[in-house]
């Protein structure tokens, strides 16, 4: 149990996917102008990440021992098609949920965070349950980063920022400071 908690916390704040691995930067800069949208994007991310963890584990256990050189190709194809399939099922079963997450799903299927999770979980040799917990943690971390970023951007929208800094440069510097703040979490476990 403690192990699972550690994996979760570590993936969420200490090795935050966006702020310390630079994964999923496209949504981080693209969809972070409103808290509401950012939160829904984060939820959609968690959803896809969990599916990815299950797919990755299945492939790693049953298929890839026979053909390790197919890892990348099979990861991408299987994850993309599974997400598409689940999307269709959700559309049928729960239109409300689909409406909340739907538009983000195709966007994030080929996101680096998704493939990154599958690869990192493989490198770390996680089992099925550990993989799912890792995915939940990573997703929670992404959501956290997205919501904080969106909050900062909402707050700074009306500020008097010099014209040259506005846009990507400003976001990038904010992200740098945010990432520095998250580095503080690195001492979370070594002291206790």
């Amino acid at each position: 149990m403690e192990n699972f908690l550690w994996i979760f916390i570590s993936a969420m704040v200490i090795n935050n996917f966006t702020l310390s691995y630079f994964l999923g930067l496209c949504p981080f800069f693209g969809v972070s102008s409103k808290i509401e949208t950012a939160f829904r994007m984060g939820m959609a991310n968690i959803f896809v990440l969990v599916i990815t963890a299950v797919c990755g584990w299945t492939l790693n256990t049953f298929i890839l021992p026979y053909a390790p050189y197919l890892r990348l190709i099979s990861f991408i194809i299987v994850i993309a098609s599974t997400v598409q399939f689940v999307e269709i099922v959700i559309k049928k079963l729960s239109p409300a949920l689909f409406k909340a997450l739907g538009i983000f799903l195709p966007l994030i299927t080929t996101n680096c965070a998704i493939l990154g999770l599958a690869l990192f979980a493989t490198n770390k040799g996680y089992g099925l349950l550990e993989g799912i917990v890792y995915a939940l943690g990573a997703g929670a971390g992404l959501t956290l980063a997205l919501v904080i970023m969106a909050g900062i951007r909402e707050e700074t929208r009306l500020m008097d920022i010099p014209e040259v800094i506005k846009g990507t440069a400003f976001n990038m510097i904010v992200a740098g400071i945010l990432s520095m703040a998250f580095m503080g979490f690195a001492g979370l476990f070594s002291t206790s």
């Binding site: 630079f22 080929t110 990432s179």
Partner: protein
């Protein structure tokens, strides 16, 4: 005449990627590798070479088969082609430079999801001939490499006090460690973008000043 026009077209497609439409500094694409592996100059060079190889080879293949690939499944096809070349690059690096391969880790595999590569296939290679596609891909790849190299050099000098593992400042230099850690990536790129914005604004201002001056020319007053 026809031939020189053709040649200038190739040149144009090649050059635009390096500066005018630089994938990192102007279009802000492919950020994930641009920030993650540029903590030393040598790592960023390895990443740039791998990306250039994948980009050019998949552009050749995509533009060769552009009439055969069905429209409905083109993205999937592009991704499979890219993933194949990334696997090749991954295994090659592992065989020849195992240390760099270990440093870059999963990020070599993550070249697959670099939006720059898929973007060029969709926007250019699938619509143009093989030679034009090569010119475009090589230009974009070199532009990407140039940006990565800039970031890598700045971050290594500031964060480690060295360049290509050769110490620059002697033993009394206190390295600015944050620059080789993740926040340094964001900050360096942020300040570089800021610099380019400023440069652009400065040039525009200068141009406007010149244009304002011209009407005052004695002939135009009359």
């Amino acid at each position: 005449m026809e031939e020189s026009k053709e040649a200038s077209r190739y040149y144009e497609e090649f050059v635009k990627g390096i500066w005018k439409e630089n994938p990192v500094f102007i279009a802000v694409l492919g950020l994930c590798p641009a920030l993650a592996v540029t903590n030393t100059a040598i790592n960023s060079l390895a990443m740039a070479t791998a990306t250039l190889f994948v980009l050019v080879s998949s552009s050749i293949l995509v533009s060769t088969f552009r009439r055969i690939i069905p429209k409905e499944v083109r993205i999937t096809t592009f991704v499979i082609i890219i993933a194949t070349f990334v696997t090749v690059a991954d295994f090659t690096l592992q065989a020849f430079v195992p240390k760099i391969h270990k440093d870059l880790g999963a990020f070599i595999a993550l070249i697959v999801v670099n939006c720059l590569i898929l973007g060029r296939q969709e926007a250019f290679s699938s619509k143009n001939g093989v030679r034009l596609a090569i010119a475009d891909a090589a230009g974009m790849g070199l532009g990407f490499g140039f940006a990565l190299f800039c970031l890598g050099v700045i971050r290594e000098i500031l964060g480690n006090g060295s360049l290509f593992d050769i110490p620059l400042f002697g033993p009394n230099y206190e390295p600015w460690v944050i620059m080789i850690l993740p926040p340094g990536g964001f900050l360096t790129l942020g300040f570089l973008l800021l610099f380019f914005n400023w440069l652009k604004a400065y040039r525009l201002q200068k141009k406007e000043k010149q244009e304002k001056v011209t009407p005052l020319h004695p002939l135009s007053i009359q």
